[in-house]
């Protein structure tokens, strides 16, 4: 394989794998949007909060597996609090109001996390392999590959959960039509708590993975902004969409930056993903896998 082509593939694969990382964040968004109709801007803050809690607890000397369990407990408590203090009081409000509330929530979580655990950067070692696979003449990052595998596992677990369990069915009912779900006896409150808890666990995994890659630092919160093009491209209501979105955006931004970035000044990664997402949205305004709203008159 020629050197140029090999380099292209390395960038491509690296992009695909980082795309999967964004998909992880996006999956958390989609879960919450599907069940509570809320576009959760606090997702990034939740990821950071989960990671900080995990690191904070394990730094106290607790075994990492136990720390993870304790963090899950914390995230479930958080889900309860969010449902009790916030969700049940904003039921019929406009989308913008709901979005605003999550921004407020993100500020609260960011402040709380730093207050409790401090603002320094922590490194996180969870035993994922580092180093490179060598395929032919190409280097593939082992860490990124393991992350992709983890993401795949999560998707399978979620798919099983939604399709095969009773709870999953109630979640889908609520996502489809709140009123109808209530009328058949589904407890919306329990559904919300479950969904936010599940999302919390996804955030923990995401935070762990990102934290291991970048270190657990406040900038982790910004992954939310980076994941937004992925969510929007895939469609707000689709987990497969989140994955496909990540697989498109990840390589696109890497390739653009590597091949065109130097010509126009570099640091294009902040806006290229958004432009790519918009380009797709112009053709399919509800995202690749999203559901189009029907206009009935």
């Amino acid at each position: 394989m020629s050197l140029d082509l090999q380099f292209f593939f390395e960038v491509l694969i690296s992009g695909l794998l980082t795309g999967v990382l964004y998909s992880l964040v996006a999956i958390g968004f989609v879960l919450i949007y599907k069940a509570s109709g809320v576009f959760n801007f606090a997702q990034g803050a939740m990821v950071l909060f989960a990671a900080m809690t995990l690191v904070g607890i394990s730094d106290l000397g607790v075994n990492i597996a136990v720390s993870a369990l304790l963090t899950i407990v914390v995230m479930v408590v958080l889900a309860y609090c969010v449902e009790f203090f916030i969700l049940r009081r904003i039921v019929n409000q406009s989308q913008i109001s709901l979005f605003m509330v999550t921004i407020g929530l993100s500020y609260i979580l960011l402040g709380l996390g730093q207050l409790v655990w401090g603002a320094e950067v922590h490194s996180l070692d969870v035993g994922l392999p580092v180093g490179q696979f060598v395929v032919g003449d190409m280097f593939i990052n082992q860490f990124d590959l393991s992350v992709a595998a983890i993401c795949g596992l999560i998707v399978l677990a979620l798919a099983y959960f939604f399709q095969r369990t009773r709870v999953g069915l109630s979640l889908r009912a609520v996502a489809d039509d709140h009123q109808a779900a209530i009328s058949i006896g589904v407890s919306i409150r329990n559904v919300w708590i479950i969904v936010w808890s599940v999302a919390g666990v996804v955030c923990l995994v995401t935070g762990t993975v990102w934290g291991a890659k970048l270190g657990v630092q406040p900038a982790l919160n910004l992954v939310a902004l980076k994941a937004m093009p992925v969510i929007v491209l895939g469609g707000l209501t689709s987990i497969p969409g989140a994955i496909v979105g990540g697989l498109i955006i990840g390589p696109a931004r890497k390739l653009f930056e590597v091949y065109f970035g130097s010509i126009i000044g570099g640091a294009t990664e902040s806006w290229v993903p958004y432009v790519v997402a918009i380009a797709f949205l112009l053709v399919r305004p509800a995202g690749l896998f999203g559901t189009q709203e029907l206009r009935r008159i």
């Binding site: 576009f39 203090f85 916030i86 009081r89 904003i90 409000q93 406009s94 989308q95 913008i96 109001s97 979005f99 605003m100 509330v101 921004i103 407020g104 929530l105 993100s106 500020y107 609260i108 979580l109 960011l110 402040g111 709380l112 730093q114 207050l115 603002a119 902004l225 937004m228 093009p229 929007v232 707000l236 126009i264 000044g265 570099g266 640091a267 294009t268 902040s270 806006w271 958004y274 432009v275 997402a277 918009i278 949205l281 112009l282 305004p285 509800a286 995202g287 709203e293 206009r295 008159i297």
Partner: protein, 356 residues
């Protein structure tokens, strides 16, 4: 008791167009204007003038701009910071490269430039709605931030990305002291508020609200959705552009892209949601709230002599601000302006009660 609560029936159409309908309120408004023009600049400290009042006035303009777009026309936008930047940099380029034009006129042209950019970046609104549109406007925000930090032509290729803005004068008076800055901003705010109020009560404002409330029905009535949405983006960006220019030339006296970041866009959005989305008055209330609360929060530990480190303080402030936002959305989703209006109703009827 303070008001004549019995209904005054209108006898002419022109009387329907008065901005302040009750004579008692007009007295109040005249008082407020009098205080703002004659009293305030003299009793307020230079600190208050320059760090509170002038920013309040300037951001009120941005808040009105965003309110016209999001509150009246119902189009999501997270790019208001970017449009402020476009106005600021356009004015800067004009001020430094085309000296024959008075700088105050540059502010206006900068606003027009922002309006043009607003139309272009408002095009996705014809295809997308709500969140998808909000994300598209985020693209604008990030792209413009990138543009004004990488392409040095915009700041005349100075070595540092932050440049000082030239001094300017208005009608022969140099705007170089906080008091003059205050009066100038006040004048601009007054003019732009009047224009905004006229717009919102005209058929164009009604078209915006129709598109917001029921786009399909609006289209079926023959309203041009394209014209409505793009004009909303244009006007909104114009307002933000002018505010951006004022921010650089009157307040900061310098120009750098960091003042127009996504945090600014969020700040403006908070202003209109907390103040009252879809109202002009709410833009002012929200601007005052969002600008003053952090300052108050900062002052509390000092006055209470609490031994908190700056780090802890910053965290607490963040938490409290977040709680405020959540609280307001839950308790007063229509903004503070709704509480003010309820209070006004009660005052009009006092000592009788309002039966609504």
């Amino acid at each position: 008791m303070f008001y004549r609560a019995a209904r005054r029936l209108p006898t002419s159409y022109s009387s329907q167009f008065l901005i302040i309908k009750r004579p008692e309120d007009r007295i109040l408004a005249a008082l407020a204007v009098g205080v703002a023009i004659f009293l305030l600049p003299h009793i307020a400290s230079t600190y208050a003038l320059s760090t509170l009042l002038v920013p309040f006035l300037i951001f009120s303009i941005s808040a009105i701009g965003l309110n016209l777009l999001m509150g009246y026309a119902g189009q999501a936008s997270l790019g208001s910071g970017a449009f402020m930047a476009v106005g600021a940099y356009a004015s800067y380029k004009l001020a430094t490269n085309v000296p024959h034009i008075p700088i105050v006129l540059d502010f206006f042209i900068g606003g027009v430039a922002a309006a043009a950019v607003g139309i272009v970046f408002g095009l996705p609104s014809l295809r997308m709605r709500a969140f998808y549109l909000a994300i598209a406007t985020l693209a604008v925000q990030f792209f413009i931030e990138w543009l004004f930090s990488k392409v040095s032509w915009f700041w005349n290729d100075h070595a540092s990305g932050v440049v000082s803005t030239p001094a300017f004068s208005f009608l022969g008076v140099p705007i170089d002291t906080p008091i003059k800055g205050y009066y100038f901003s006040l004048a601009v705010v007054a003019l732009m508020t009047l224009l905004a109020v006229n717009l919102t009560r005209s058929h164009i404002g009604r078209q915006w609200m129709a598109v917001r409330d029921n786009e399909t029905a609006a289209q079926l009535m023959g309203i041009s959705i394209t014209k409505a949405k793009l004009s909303a983006f244009a006007i909104s960006s114009f307002y933000c552009g002018v505010a951006g220019s004022l921010w650089a030339f009157v307040f900061l006296k310098s120009l750098g892209i960091t003042s127009y970041s996504i945090d600014t866009s969020f700040k403006i959005m908070f202003m209109i949601i907390i103040g009252g989305i879809g109202t002009i008055m709410g833009s002012f209330i929200g601007a005052a709230f969002v600008l003053i609360v952090p300052i108050l929060l900062n002052m509390i530990p000092a006055t209470m002599s609490l031994p908190l480190s700056t780090g802890v303080l910053a965290c607490l402030e963040q938490i409290i601000f977040g709680v405020f936002i959540v609280y307001f959305v839950i308790v007063e989703p229509q903004g503070i302006v709704r509480s003010v209006r309820n209070l006004h109703q009660k005052l009009v009827a006092w000592p009788l009660t309002v039966n609504r």
